[in-house]
Symmetry: C2
Subunit: 256 residues, 2 copies
Amino acid sequence: MKRTIQFAPVNLGRAGEEVALQIEAAIIERQLEPGDRLPSERELQVHFNTSRGVIREALQALKQKSLIEIKKGAKGGAFVREVEVATVGESLALFIKRQPMSPYHLIEFRESLDRTITPLAITRGSAAEKEELLSKAKDLERLFLQQEPDMEQLAELDRELNLKFAQMARNPIFEWIMHALQIGFSSSDFNLYNRADYRNKTAENWRHTAQAIAEGEPLKALSHISYHYAMLLQLLELEAGDGVEIQEWTAKSASE
Amino acid sequence: MKRTIQFAPVNLGRAGEEVALQIEAAIIERQLEPGDRLPSERELQVHFNTSRGVIREALQALKQKSLIEIKKGAKGGAFVREVEVATVGESLALFIKRQPMSPYHLIEFRESLDRTITPLAITRGSAAEKEELLSKAKDLERLFLQQEPDMEQLAELDRELNLKFAQMARNPIFEWIMHALQIGFSSSDFNLYNRADYRNKTAENWRHTAQAIAEGEPLKALSHISYHYAMLLQLLELEAGDGVEIQEWTAKSASE
DNA sequence: TAGGCTCCATTGGTCGTACCATTATGACGG
DNA sequence: CCGTCATAATGGTACGACCAATGGAGCCTA
């Protein structure tokens, strides 16, 4: 005959999952607050009446979710992490990395995001923030104009600029998406910044956009954004085709 | 011939991370394709010259990221998963669960997303898709009008409707975001569908929107979308305040 | 006393082994 | 031909041991 019916098989598959879920629940329900330290693995092992391996797997899973942070040594252990927008964006990045996504898709989405954020940033961003945005844009331009720009520092500044922009919309979702896109973009392989002409135009355009935002001119800002992404698209077409120079975009450029 | 993948032994700290990274890289670079089976834990243990616990932690991490799937028993093991939009949305859900996010933020983002997708869907969606969208909207309306709507089936239909809508934009990023939002919404607690008046108006509005999309009338569609979210916002205000009925929105409603 | 040094307890990280639970497969027998 | 059972492969769990890093207590020296 078949097996006898098992009542309440508490082994819901894997014990590690169960442990992880319990701790995760405790964190989400604020029974454990950011900064709190969980018991050591050896204590948890006794508490959950299980082996240390199971505890370790559970903790690693939580660490993967950026829910905890693990330190070695005396007074080490698992500490509940602060919620940060920066720590939650990996899944999109992974998605972009695995799915051979066309740069056009990325650019299209990025532009739509920028266009959505712009009016919000103008309406909700403080004067100080607008000033900071403009200041960063000028920094970026200055950095771009150098003979040998530090690509590392440059990417960082570009990242900050975009993130600041998203923050000004006063909606954490935009911030989250923007961060995830940053990762996606940088992990993507088209390093257009290597082209000096693109660099210069981008920096100049950023300044114009920040200026328009500071002045509270949404249409101007949107115009610059359109210009930027149109240029980006054209550049991609060129890379796919021959190596012709950038066309005379300045003629069609948004009025300053 | 059989593909052989060379994994380098690991000497650095965090051996588990290292192993996970190597396998992840192999997956992303398509050296391992969906459906492929990784060597058993005991084999990997030898290949990486490490202990089985380390291998297990690495595999659990990859499983967490939905990169692999693990089966027990003979011919079990770790299998590379298919990339699905559906499997990547957990981080947003977690984000929303931890950060007590205002429904307003969700709604605002959701509306901006809808408004962005609309013209794309009209331009790129096939006639068949538009027909399907309208058909689903009518199904939804029919379901809503029943005395005792099956909330389960209803939520599912609403989900399909939104997802179809996002698909018509022909950009996987929109699809992904939409899916993530679905999770976020459903994990959020405001079950507005319990209000019969809201249900009816929502269903009617969906039909109007789908109709406008099918007719290729972006402005009409956007108008209906505006109406929908304005109503949603008003409902939230009411819930926060007293229990007054919905105002006369129909007067300001978009022309049909 | 101040500054540094050493030792040591704590704790995560790794390793190895043994055993259990589940599952596919093939051998066996009716 | 079909069901049943043994078997091997494989993940899941447990236990025990040791290593490596870390921070602090206590000691030593100038």
